[in-house]
């Protein structure tokens, strides 16, 4: 525990804003551990904390936490959010993992009880760094159980700074994964502990930690499959013991009951095929234990007959049940969905999954970028573990192999790989340092000599230093800029802050009717709801594909067709992101083909992807572009009045910097829309839908009434 010291920081970055936060810093092992200060980098850099909740998803989490703290837990569970998915609305309480909100709410409650008046926002901002500190502690504990204390310390240092984990735990990244990795590591620690001791006390602790994990993140499925796999492999290796029996039986029953308490999970643990492995291993373990018991009481001949009968009977029963259940559709054998690479599955079935960049497979560059030297050294740790195998090292080997498979399939799951890579790398480095640091203990064996030893130590330390430098660089460059505020760099290295998003959301909040409905692509749904406090049609919780497709259709149709759709959805404002002025590549025109694809999936008669390409199959916005593209709503809204704008002297007016092309349709006029707002750098453009019918009531409501 000497590893962690608690610091109390009062940061006064801006005269108006006083930030009071409790930060955990790893300040062990030279300067390396101290790099976790980078987690609060974004919070320090942005001028006020209001913006430092970074990625798009988080706005929703913050909003629901706010709802939880102001209305209480039961009200939160019953919350029906009518501001999202207009006109459908969304049941929030039953469709989220509440762990994150409850944790933040609890911390807020305790602090207020102690008369430390902290705003819930500040709790949310600093939750992820606090939990990454806890992750470091639990990684230390787990590695200590697996190897020794030295390896544990190294592992804690690695996980404190490794970019693969920092990406999810910077201050302000208020999302499920931030706390879930702590829960994951802690559950594994308690599981290893309970397998080692065979005590119900540790197992119950493991179940509680598992319960916390289930409440926090859908990734709990990883635990409920890995632990049974561990038990199964132990049985195969004939390492069955009473400790394993006690640990797993308790864990399965208590964990099952606890996990079903989460409304969003409900009866899934006894219904879906992801959880069936756990049940199967539970039954197998009971049968195995029973046979062990009988073996002591019966003669060899009797036992063999019984064994044969029992096994064939059990196999038959299991086989028939599975066939019956699959046939009647009680549960689907959807396990293939998890094993076969998701992008390939999704490419055919659901374009919306394929459109999210996190669902792509992982290149070696991302592995190296996120793990640096650890990615080359952790196989050595795995080697040492398997060479000196025992019950808990079986676990870590299985953890590594399964996590590396999933990380290869999906970039997003790099997060579950990172902790085990840190642990195994720490084991590898620690077993090298063990022999090369310090004097020879054994007198009977000739040592390698101080020269070689010091050279090896020096070079190893240099590699680790490079790792620390790499982590610092990655954190400050790639992971610490909140996407709500963009930064651009001038030639002399000075920095411009582009605050267009906040400007636009603030405008919406101040200048539009309280009940105005804003249509945008789903990426911005949570932001609009959270920062502008206006009703949205679709958002980042992409549960209703056809609704998203309808919005996509409106964006990709021509103005009059789009107007019909917008009228039927009661849209008052349309918000788009346009990066052509500053060269921002994540704007709506670049995402546009996904809108078309998703719309085409639902409305193949009206929208055809090929219409948006040139005959040569290119996607161009200049004069050569297809006429359908040049006249669709998204194009018109993006480039309205842009044709008059000359950005610099070398380029013609209407030159799009993102796509490096002069736009093809400069004469854009609207019939049913009017420009309402364009932010300073044109990053956000908002249009008002003209209200033509004098007494327009919602056509949806009208339909509903009749």
């Amino acid at each position: 525990m000497e590893l962690i010291c608690l610091g109390h920081f009062v940061l006064s970055h801006n005269p108006e804003v006083w930030i009071l936060g409790e930060l955990m810093l790893n300040c062990s092992w030279g300067g390396v551990g101290g790099d976790s200060i980078h987690r609060i980098h974004p919070a320090l850099e942005c001028h006020s904390l209001v913006v430092s909740l970074s990625s798009f998803l988080l706005r929703f989490n913050y909003r629901s936490t706010h709802h939880l703290t102001s209305n209480g837990f039961y009200e939160f569970l019953n919350w029906f959010d009518e501001r999202a998915w207009y006109p459908l609305g969304r049941i929030v309480g039953g469709t989220v993992y509440p762990g994150l909100m409850v944790t933040a709410g609890l911390i807020h409650y305790v602090l207020n009880l102690l008369h430390m008046t902290v705003h819930i926002r500040d709790v949310c901002v600093f939750l992820a760094p606090i939990f990454s500190g806890l992750t470091a502690i639990s990684t230390f504990l787990l590695t200590r159980e697996l190897w020794n204390q030295g390896a544990g310390l190294l592992a804690a240092c690695f996980i404190a700074i490794v970019p693969g984990y920092i990406s999810r735990s910077v201050a302000g990244s208020f999302d499920n994964e931030g706390i879930a990795i702590f829960a994951l590591q802690f559950t594994y620690y308690l599981w290893v502990k309970s397998v080692k001791t065979g005590s119900v006390f540790w197992t119950i602790g493991c179940c509680l930690s598992y319960f916390y994990m289930v409440s926090a993140w859908g990734g709990y499925v990883f635990i409920i499959n890995l632990i049974p796999l561990h038990v199964f492999v132990l049985l195969l290796m004939q390492r069955y013991s009473r400790r394993v029996y006690i640990a797993y039986s308790t864990f399965y029953i208590v964990g099952l009951v606890l996990s079903m308490q989460i409304p969003f999970v409900g009866f899934q643990p006894i219904r879906t095929s992801e959880h069936m492995a756990a049940a199967g291993v539970f039954a197998l373990l009971q049968a195995y234990a029973f046979l062990q018991y009988l073996k002591d009481r019966l003669t060899k001949q009797e036992f063999q007959t019984l064994f044969f009968l029992g096994v064939s009977l059990a196999a038959g029963v299991v086989f028939l049940t599975v066939i019956y259940l699959t046939y009647t559709g009680k549960f689907s054998l959807s396990l293939m969905r998890y094993l076969c690479p998701p992008p390939r599955y999704a490419k055919i079935h659901i374009p919306i999954i394929a459109s999210v960049s996190e669902h792509q497979p992982t290149t070696w560059v991302s592995f190296f970028f996120d793990l640096h030297i650890l990615v080359c050294t952790f196989p050595a740790g795995l080697w040492f573990c398997i060479k000196n195998i025992n019950d808990e090292r079986v676990f870590v080997a299985l953890y590594a192999i399964s996590a590396v498979y999933f990380a290869g399939v999906m970039v997003r799951l790099m997060l579950t790989l990172t902790p085990v890579v840190c642990m195994l790398s720490a084991i590898a480095f620690s077993s090298v340092f063990e022999h090369y640091l310090g004097d020879d203990q054994k007198k009977d064996k000739e040592g390698l000599g101080p020269n070689i030893k010091s050279i090896v130590t020096m070079l190893m330390l240099m590699l680790l230093m490079m790792f620390a430098v790499h982590c610092t660089w990655v954190t400050s460059n790639a992971y610490s800029s909140p996407s709500v505020v963009l930064a651009s760099y001038n030639h002399d290295g000075s920095r411009n802050i582009l605050d267009d998003f906040r400007e636009a959301y603030y405008w919406l909040r101040q200048n539009t009717d309280e009940h105005a409905r804003v249509m945008s692509w789903w990426d911005y749904g949570y932001q609009i709801a959270g920062m502008a406090n206006r009703t949205t049609l679709v958002d980042n919780n992409t549960w209703n594909n056809s609704h998203i497709a309808l919005v996509g259709k409106a964006m990709s149709s021509n103005e009059s067709a789009a107007y019909q759709i917008m009228q039927s959805l009661d849209v008052d404002y349309v918000l788009i992101i346009f990066g052509g002025v500053i060269g921002y590549s994540g704007d709506d025109i670049n995402k546009f083909l996904w809108m078309v694809r998703i719309a085409e999936g639902e409305h193949p008669k009206d929208i055809r992807e090929s219409d948006y390409f040139t005959p040569q199959g290119e996607f161009r916005v200049d004069k050569a572009g297809s006429p359908t593209l040049l006249n669709c709503l998204m194009y018109k809204m993006s480039y309205y009045r842009f044709g008059e704008m000359q950005l610099d002297f070398r380029t013609p007016p209407g030159f799009d910097r993102t796509r490096n092309a002069e736009i093809g349709n400069k004469d854009i006029k609207f019939k049913h829309l009017e420009e309402a707002f364009t932010s300073e750098h044109w990053l956000v453009r908002i249009y008002k839908v003209k209200n033509e019918g004098s007494s327009r009531t919602s056509s949806f409501l009208r339909k509903a009434r009749s």
Partner: protein, 344 residues
């Protein structure tokens, strides 16, 4: 009957002129007999053609056509059926790899239609090989294969009746969507289950099982930690070098610059990779791992001191050299990365 048919088909071939003629005849009110004769003839000819097509389709789901058949059954009216034609070059001497793949997909599509419950004579699938009907290729001004074209039951093919292979690819599902778009006929693509995978697995299991059975008296090798550790390491190294990405995306092995003839094994961007590159990375990663293991062995093994010293030097050399090499490759791909070690 055969003579009549030939007569009809002669008429049919001249139909373009003849239909103008008939129209004029009707307008002027003369040649009524001729008109009825011609209509009757058209009807029998049509039935004859449909019957023939159905006959072929029942034999093979994709009807192979040569120049003459194509002209008679696809090009010439009367028709009340649509025909989707794949123009291809499947002869081995043409060396058209894409044609083979496209042909497989097309067969899947045609079979799904042939054996579906919705099978009608509204649409037929046909193919024309370049070596059997090169005159058709000339006639349609076609200079690339494979090409898919739809010949609607009425009128001439429009621009959209030529399938955009470059844009949409030749997956059977895509072609089926295009057909649904052009003809309102939905072909549900049913891929025959791939037996190759399970068969290979079964074969592998059988081999492993028989090996185990043969060596049933000494099963120590199952307890060989080195073998298990080696297998685990192989799997981990394969995954971390991005082979899964290759498997899903199917990148080329390396890129050859057509102008200079230079072969580049490393992709210039950090978003993509070549197969060769991942093999290099796999090798480097395993070299670093091996170096670490050597370092550990050098310190713990019972060999004589000279050998251990060599092992130790080799170990640290492997780690440092290959790691810095890896770093330099990473640096070349990840533009703007500032750090390097030993080499640029």
């Amino acid at each position: 009957a055969r003579r009549l048919m030939r007569k009809c088909s002669d008429r049919g071939a001249k139909m373009n002129d003849a239909s103008v003629q008939t129209l004029l005849d009707i307008l002027s009110g003369v040649g009524e007999k001729n008109v009825t004769n011609s209509l009757l003839c058209t009807k029998t000819l049509l039935m004859e053609k449909v019957g023939q097509m159905m006959d072929w389709a029942s034999k093979r789901s994709v009807i192979r056509m040569n120049g003459e058949k194509f002209r008679r059954f696809v090009k010439a009216p009367p028709r009340n059926y649509s025909v989707v034609v794949m123009f291809t070059a499947l002869q081995p001497q043409r060396q058209c790899g894409v044609c083979k793949q496209a042909d497989e997909e097309y067969q899947i599509l045609a079979n799904s239609w042939r054996y579906s419950s919705a099978f009608t004579n509204k649409i037929f699938f046909a193919s024309v090989d370049f070596d059997e009907g090169s005159d058709i290729f000339h006639m349609l001004n076609m200079n690339s294969a494979p090409t898919f074209m739809h010949f609607p039951s009425k009128g001439k093919p429009k621009r959209a009746d030529t399938y955009e292979l470059q844009v949409r690819g030749f997956a059977a599902e895509q072609i089926s969507r295009w057909i649904a778009d052009r003809t309102d006929i939905n072909v549900r693509v049913i891929r025959p289950p791939n037996y190759a995978g399970p068969l290979m697995l079964g074969f592998l299991l059988a081999v492993v099982g028989s090996l185990v059975y043969l060596r049933r008296n000494n099963l120590e090798f199952l307890y060989n930690k080195n073998a298990w550790a080696f297998a685990a390491l192989c799997f981990v190294l394969i995954m971390t070098s991005g082979q899964m990405w290759n498997h899903i995306r199917g990148p080329p092995y390396a890129h050859k610059n057509p102008n200079t003839g230079q072969v580049s094994y490393i992709h210039g961007s950090s978003q993509a990779q070549f197969v060769a590159e991942t093999h290099i990375v796999l090798l480097f990663n395993s070299a670093v791992t091996f170096g670490m293991v050597l370092l550990h062995e050098a310190a713990t093994s019972d060999m004589d001191i000279g050998k251990r010293k060599i092992m130790c030097i080799a170990g640290i050399g492997l780690v440092v050299l290959f790691f810095s090499w890896l770093l330099s490759i990473f640096r070349a791909k990840y533009h703007g990365y500032p750090y390097s070690f030993l080499m640029n």
